[in-house]
């Protein structure tokens, strides 16, 4: 494989991977907020 073709792989997989993993993290935050809602914690 040439450097350029590896670069294209890094571009495509890198962008999709970053977007996908941050999408996953945002879903995780939603889940955490559902599991531990604001104002319902014990004193």
């Amino acid at each position: 494989m040439t450097d350029l073709s590896i670069g294209v792989i890094l571009l495509v997989v890198g962008m999709l991977g970053t977007l996908g993993s941050l999408g996953l993290l945002s879903l995780m935050i939603v889940l955490l907020k559902r599991l531990f809602p604001y104002g319902k914690e014990g004193a």
């Binding site: 450097d3 890094l10 962008m15 991977g17 970053t18 993993s21 999408g23 996953l24 955490l32 604001y38």
Partner: protein, 380 residues
Amino acid sequence: MWEAILSGFAGLALGVSNFTFPQFVMIAVGGGLLYLGIRHGFEPLLLVPIGFGAILVNLPLAGFMEKGGILRTFYDVGVLTELFPLLIFVGIGAMTDFGPLLERPSILLLGAAGQFGIFLTLLLALGLKFTLLESVAIGIIGACDGPTAIYVGSKYAPHMLGPISVAAYSYMSLVPLLQPPIMRILTTKREKHVVMAAGKRSVSKTTKTLFPICVTLVTALIAPIGAPLMGMLMLGNLLKESGVVERLKQVSEQEIASIVTLLLGLSIGATMEADKFLRYQTMLVLVLGLVAIGLDTVMGVVFGKLMCAATGGKVNPLIGAAGISAFPMAARVAQNEGQRYNKKNHLLMHAMGANTGGQVGSVMAAAIMLSLLKGLGIGP
């Protein structure tokens, strides 16, 4: 006798006789960095030690970067081992409030789009005949995140660490100049006027405490090679959010961050030796770094426009520009641009969310890049 006296005087002139023009140029460059830091307040905590380090390392016969030299020791112990950038991350994590991001998790996607410039610049660097690993190190300037750039740069292109870190840190402070023209060109009048409602407080303390632990676990599962970066950032944040280790939090964000910033700045300045820095490649790296941050801004705003369309006009695309790691400058730029078109529009908290998303995003993008390269069997 007279010969010995003359030799003694000749010894006093050794500095002058060994002083070269390239060293003079680099001392002037160091002076320029000091001028930017002291006179204009551009990232003074970094530019002052970097600038002075650049001056020290270009003094003739002083031997700061020779084996056993003080700056060489700092560099070997802290930069080559990746210790300094990782310790800085603990401090950044302890200083960062992810609250605005947790209030509106979808904004995290802007922090991903704000990193696309990294990957696009990588291709540009390859087109300019840099090697693959050098291109990766150059592209990472687009993370707009000094410690990440140094971490990746020291791994893949240690010989280019000087220009890479100077670009990463100096462009970070130039964000207020670089971003607004791009934001104005890419958004319509209607989009600039979109008012974003203030979110209700919706994040519990438990969520805030669990967030750094979960992010570390997710990152380690997706991109394990980048786990040290994310792990240290989130360790700092856990110290802050747990609320039970106030002393450790304070030490991380103050003493440790200050000491490491000083040593890191000096070490980076020490990489700016004339014979290594004054090259055609350095100019290309500086230009590509600028392009990377420009592309980040473009992609962030374009993604903001997509979110605006997808939410029926509830997201102001200007906050997309804040999806980079330059905290809190990028968020302030989005706020100022929003107010420029609508005095009643307060985008700051939303932009802060995107900006902290950019911090997570830049580390995640670097982690993904490191893991991809490892998966392809490339690099150390």
